[in-house]
Amino acid sequence: MLSKRIIPCLDVKDGRTVKGINFVDLRDAGDPVELAWNYSEQGADELVFLDITATHERRKTMVELVKSVARQINIPFTIGGGINEIADADALLNAGADKISINSAAVRNPALIDELAKAFGVQFVILAVDTRRVGDQNLVHLNGGRIATEKDTFEWILEAEQRGAGEILLTSMDHDGTKGGFDNVFLKKVNDAVHIPVIASGGAGSVQHFVDVFEQTNVDAALAASVFHYGEILIPDLKAILSQHQIEVRQVFN
């Protein structure tokens, strides 16, 4: 049986992780490669790096990051942030990235999804969507949830699947940062409607929230940042409890 995946997300700027990190045994908590290695040893199934570098050197710093991760890490990883064209994706693929995630560039130019899927295969393309409720609708938001668009999130996800997205990373901006649990109602609606894997994001605060999201929505993976970075949830403990709930996970024995 296919395992449910646990995915820590690392924010990276100018080649350094930016959020506070609480691992006691790290030499350099700002080093994304050492942090990634630590997560893979703990039993993370996959990693997502979100590059928020804003300089014109960005592609070069992303490629360097991806190469150093691919040299040392033996689990799959995704890189996202500022991928606007085929050439960006090509450079990252050749540097060893398993997948890329695209967000606002796809909203501005939906055909980018088709182009990337055709050039590299659907398995390489994750569509990341930041959603927020406006009235009784879920609308796609850009720039970390600050800018609303008029796109209906559910319709946008169905369109992206048609265009060739291989996976959906769905972040609820209403839940993100609250530590009050994932948006299980909307995640279930999306997961029931698509035939590609869905990664839940936004709201993880406790082990029970991971149990709930898998039991209530049947999504394929759950992503979180701060609960892992600050050591509030340890991945081996999380997987042990998921396993007790008959949720299939990959156990790592060191």
Partner: protein
């Protein structure tokens, strides 16, 4: 030393990085003359099987690969190339294994691509899986699979159907998952292949 067969399909950065971490020597095979420098081979591959086969044909290496007597490991699409035919592009493959590469049926319950960590169950004892417990998880990402066949299936995985996670015939081995992305057991499998 392992020769990695280059025919223009897919990136091999992660594979060579894994071999370097493990201290396994490797080099590149671009032409028929390069084969004699190596004692075993890896056929990598990602993307579209039909397109990969077409690139392999243009490389001029098809007859040489079919005649190989040394241990040879196909990975992912590199595995599918060793079968008789793929539904991806309705293309004839190398036919080293007389079995088929098929597409997973679309289903709400079993999503395609089959993405993530799944259990690999041993069917036949083989040194390729030495020191890897039966039922260990490996990382898969693929929409096409090789049918289960008791004559060739070394290890199987259950998804919407039971399929070949690894196959074996004479000196040819192949795996559907990505050993270079499958944690310690993936690295163990690469080490095992280097010792066969």
């Amino acid at each position: 030393m392992i020769g990695i067969i280059r025919y223009g399909a897919g990136n091999i950065f992660s594979l060579t990085a894994a071999l370097e971490r493990l201290g396994i020597a490797y080099g590149m095979v671009h032409s028929e003359a390069d084969f004699e420098h190596f004692d075993r081979f890896i056929i990598p591959g990602v993307g579209h099987a039909g397109a990969a086969m077409s690139k392999l044909e243009h490389s001029g290496l098809v007859n040489k690969i079919k005649s190989l007597q040394k241990p040879t490991l196909g990975i992912c699409v590199g595995m599918q190339l060793l079968t008789a035919h793929s539904e991806e592009g309705d293309a004839a493959m190398l036919n080293i294994f007389p079995i088929q590469t098929k597409r997973f049926a679309d289903s709400a319950e079993y999503k395609v691509p089959h993405t993530g960590w799944n259990r690999v169950n041993h069917e036949i004892a083989n040194p390729l899986f030495a020191n890897i417990p039966n039922g260990s998880h490996f990382y898969f990402v693929h929409s096409y699979f090789i049918e289960f066949n008791p004559a060739f299936t070394l290890a199987s995985t259950d998804y919407s159907t039971k399929f070949s996670a690894a196959i074996y015939k004479d000196n040819f081995y192949a795996v559907q998952f990505h050993p270079e992305k499958s944690g310690r057991y993936g690295e163990q499998l690469l080490t095992n292949f280097s010792n066969i």
